[in-house]
């Protein structure tokens, strides 16, 4: 009997050790420097607030910590869209001036692999920017560093919150080096294909209400005119 108990205690210790190894794995993490920094192309920057009340509208399944906004917006409770979030927001340029309107859909991805420290989200942007026209951005994002560095510490803290200074690239594909794909719709962007990287800069997060001081940034490498088909 005592051998069995010892085996079970050992297994419990093993599970704890595995969880700690997984959580404190020093060989994983998203880069904080955008691969587009070395690009020779002109870059267009779009920023938006991740604080739900700063958006025009936000919806999810209605059961998450971050509540839909504004009141009585339709919730995504049906099984096929339960793990999906939608946000409509004004995008600002690098000077903080309104520069476009963006709709973002994000869904938890089945390619999530905790053992590889990959919490993957499939997301797409539908954007209208008067300076460029309309375009579509598709990407996979890895939220592991976000959960590891912000969400878990906030939940473990006595004040149910996290404060600090944090910046990471969230884009993890489909392009090499974790680059998102851009497809032009109308306007100057009509017919073009380009690259983008999305990042998050966080300063405060509440385990009860979600992001409190957090901005998303979408950087697009603008193709040169002669490169356009």
């Amino acid at each position: 009997m005592k051998y069995l108990i010892t085996l079970l205690v050992g297994m419990a210790i093993g599970v704890v050790v595995f969880v700690l190894l997984l959580y404190y794995n020093p060989f994983v993490g998203n880069p904080s420097v955008s691969p587009l920094v070395v690009s020779e192309l002109d870059l267009a920057d779009f920023s938006y607030s991740l604080v739900v009340r700063d958006s025009i509208a936000f919806t999810n399944d209605g059961e998450s910590r971050v509540q839909p906004y504004p009141a009585k917006v339709l919730q995504l409770w049906e099984p096929a869209v339960k793990k999906t979030r939608a946000i409509v927001t004004v995008l600002t340029d690098s000077r903080g001036q309104p520069a476009g309107l963006g709709v973002k859909f994000s869904s938890d991805s089945e390619s999530t692999r905790l053992i590889n420290a990959e919490v993957v989200v499939d997301s797409v942007w539908h954007i209208y920017a008067p300076e460029y026209g309309t375009f579509f951005v598709d990407q996979t994002e890895n939220f592991w560093p976000y959960l590891h560095d912000i969400v878990v510490p906030a939940r473990l803290s006595g004040g149910d919150s996290w404060r600090g200074s944090w910046h990471r690239n969230m884009s993890a594909g489909p392009g090499a080096l974790g680059i998102a794909r851009v497809t032009g719709g109308t306007g100057d962007f009509a017919g073009i294909e380009a690259e983008a990287v999305e990042s998050i800069t966080a300063n405060a997060y509440s385990a009860i209400t979600g992001p409190m001081a957090m901005t998303g940034n979408l950087t697009i490498a603008l193709p040169r005119q002669e490169e356009q088909p």
Binding site: Y3, T6, L7, L8, V9, G10, A12, I13, G14, V15, V17, F18, L21, I56, A57, T59, P70, A71, K72, V73, L74, L76, E78, A80, V81, K83, T84, A86, V88, V90, P98, G100, V103, F105, S107, D108, S109, E110, T112, R113, L114, I115, V119, D122, V124, H126, Y128, P130, G133, T134, F136, D138, P174, R181, T183, G184, G185, T186, G187, D188
Partner: protein, 208 residues
């Protein structure tokens, strides 16, 4: 004296055995946890069967439905007196003056919600008129569709698949958008539905 030594040796042997079993347990625990994390899907998106019809050219056709107004998540336009939801505060920026943005739930032909979509339409001096859809089906992928501005004489509007992800990545083809004045659920407040009918062909098939 000899029995005392034997008892001590037995105890040492038992402790060593316990230590070995503890170590074995730790290894088994790590292996079991790794196996569970590796094998068990953390995310398992709900899937509805795709209701696809095969076209004579080898392509496929599918119909997506949006009930109005029941499936409208959000609708915003500058100057509009009736936003959806009612509490929506649509921004009053100049560049949004001639724009309308809507978010919908998307259903399959059987009326089951399978995704979400955004529809942007507007006009500007710089870019002219545009109507676009992004349809996002979490279990399958997304589509970016640009529509012709003017509807046909039969009242539908044609569009083209500009980009797709996952299941729609290698597809190419046309989409028809039309308003159907029929109600799927007679007990609802719906007045009709938008139908998006796709006719796609794989890029490889197209080359052949």
């Amino acid at each position: 004296m000899t029995s005392g030594r034997c008892a001590g040796a037995n105890q040492d042997s038992q402790e060593q055995n316990l230590l070995k079993i503890l170590n074995l347990g730790i290894v088994l625990g790590i292996a079991a946890a790794a196996a569970v994390v590796y094998v068990y899907p953390v995310v398992d998106q709900h899937r509805e069967p795709s209701l696809i019809a095969v076209l004579p050219n080898g392509g496929n056709s599918e119909s997506f439905h949006i009930r109005l107004p029941g499936d409208r998540i959000m609708a915003g336009a500058t100057g509009s007196t009736e936003s959806t939801p009612l509490a929506l505060e649509w921004p009053k920026h100049d560049f949004l003056a001639n724009m309308q943005t809507e978010l919908f739930k998307v259903r399959n032909e059987k009326g089951v919600v399978i995704g979400v979509a955004s529809r942007m339409s507007g006009s500007s001096e710089q870019h002219g008129l545009f109507i676009e859809w992004v349809v996002h089906l979490p279990a399958r992928g997304s589509m970016f569709i640009t529509m012709a501005v003017n509807p046909s004489a039969d009242g539908y509007r044609e569009g083209k698949l500009r980009a797709g992800t996952r299941e729609f990545l290698t597809l190419n083809g046309a989409i028809i958008e039309r308003f159907v004045n029929e109600v799927d659920d007679v007990d609802s407040d719906d007045v009709g539905r938008i139908e998006l009918v796709t006719a796609f062909v794989g890029l490889a098939e197209e080359l052949e």
